[in-house]
Each structure stands twice: as C-alpha cells, then as structure tokens.
Amino acid sequence: MADEALFLLLHNEMVSGVYKSAEQGEVENGRCITKLENMGFRVGQGLIERFTKDTARFKDELDIMKFICKDFWTTVFKKQIDNLRTNHQGIYVLQDNKFRLLTQMSAGKQYLEHASKYLAFTCGLIRGGLSNLGIKSIVTAEVSSMLCVKFQVMIQKL
C-alpha cells in the first residue's frame, strides 16, 4: 500500500468536494453522506475481491467478521480493529481506538459533529466488502471521543 498520507489527504478532499458540489438544500438532507457511503460501497466490493483472491473459503459469518477486523483493516488502515463484540444475533460492534482518518483532527470536542462526514466512506467500505461476500448489512458509526470510533454492523437475515 502506498504512503498513508496520500489516502488521508484524498479522503479529506473527497469529503469537502462532495459537500461543495452539493446544492443548498442538500447539505441538510444528508444526501452527501449517502453519496460518500455509496462510493465506499463500490470501493469495498473491489477491494474485497482483491484481498480474498488467495485466502481460503470462509466457514461462517464470524469468520468473515474476523477477516474484516484483521486482514482487511490492516491492509487499509495499517492496524487491526481493537475490539470486536457481538450479540450472536447478527449485531457486531467494531471498535477502533485510534481511527487513522481522524487522527489529524483536533482531539477535543470541537469537531465531533462533523466527524460523521468522515466516517461515511469507511461505513460504505465495510458494507461493500460484506455484500460482496454475501452478507447484507447496515453499517453505522458513532464517535464518542475524537479518536475512538465504533462501527456497528447489523446483519439482515433474509
């Protein structure tokens, strides 16, 4: 993977680019977040195809989530997910204590409400990866403090 800073800067520009090109009414609607999430979705699909090319077949859902936490996160963000929790009924919480895309912003409460814009792409990334592996899901993110981010994955049973 190329230098981290490249993706970080590109991602920041992407977020501000999407918001700049949106019309007046759209900024409140949250359509920009959807756009970013859909971008992440498509990228996630392609990435997963590349990363699972050589790995063995997955046994079950938990196996897939563990793969996302370890290999996938390591390849994209150069670290693993710090904490994975599940209720064994289709809800998984992935906790990252030092989310790479937010480390450059101030660690205080100043930008907390804007943080969700920067998490939309990553939510889409996870959703796209899972959908390509055959799992339909909804991914949301919450930021309690600026560095600790929790991604909640809700698997939709058919």
Partner: protein
C-alpha cells in the same frame, strides 16, 4: 486448452460465457447450467467428505462422453466453469488450476474497474483476450 469458459454470478446467472464457435453452442450452455447443481452440492456443508472445505478450486465436476467439466468458486460466490475436451489427456490438474488462477486474476481486475457495475455482463477486452489465449486455437 478449454472448449468453453463461463463466469457465473452468485445469483446463478451468467456474467460471461464463451465457447469454441464451430460446435453447437447451446450444448455448452446446457452443460454449464447443469454443472451449477454440482457446484452447489460441493460447496454446501453436507458434502464435507467430497472436497476440502477451505479450497477455492473444486476439481472435476462431472465427465461426459466427449467432455470434462471443471469448477472453481471464489470467496464472493462467483463461479468459474470450464469445459475441456475429454480426448485431451495431456491436460493435467495443475494446468487447470493455473488456468483458473488466471481467470480469477482477470476477474478481479474487471471488478476493480470503476466503469464496471457488479452484476453486468463482462465486456472487458482484456478479459476477452485472456480467455482467447486459453481456448483451443481453431482455424
């Protein structure tokens, strides 16, 4: 050298199917279609003894009088099916595995193409030329 190559999506419709043009193509389409059942059987949890659960290459799916059908499934449940001539005894398992590897690599490239929507038919020329190199050269 393959006689027919097919890429089938996880919803079991063909994304790409190409056969040697001289013969009756419908016959190959039927063969690929019937092989899907065998693929499903192999990847289901019931057939534990049949194939190593962790491998992507499925091996010989079924032989017919003139042809042998091989299968391969990716982690995203996309299936590759290859039909070869039964009279071609020189073709070893390793060669078939390497052909599937090449198919998988080209498919990954197609997937990462931003102009390709997952689920559409594959129309990439690079993929086409790679498949041509694998098929029997018929004058």
């Amino acid at each position: 050298m393959a006689v027919c190559v097919a890429v089938i999506a996880k919803e079991n419709y063909p994304l790409y199917i190409r056969s040697v043009p001289t013969e009756n193509e419908l016959k190959f389409h039927y063969m690929v279609h019937t092989s899907l059942d065998v693929v499903d059987e192999k990847i289901s949890a019931l057939g534990k003894a049949l194939v190593d659960q962790r491998e992507l290459y499925l091996g010989l799916l079924y032989p017919t009088e003139d042809h042998k059908v091989y299968g391969y499934v990716t982690n995203s449940k996309v299936k590759f099916v290859m039909v070869v001539d039964a009279s071609n005894t020189a073709l070893r398992d390793n060669e078939i595995r390497s052909m599937f590897r090449k198919l998988h690599n080209s498919y990954t490239d197609v997937m990462c193409n931003p102009f390709y929507n997952p689920g559409d038919r594959i129309q990439s020329r690079a993929f086409d030329s790679m498949v041509t190199s694998m098929m029997i050269q018929v004058c």
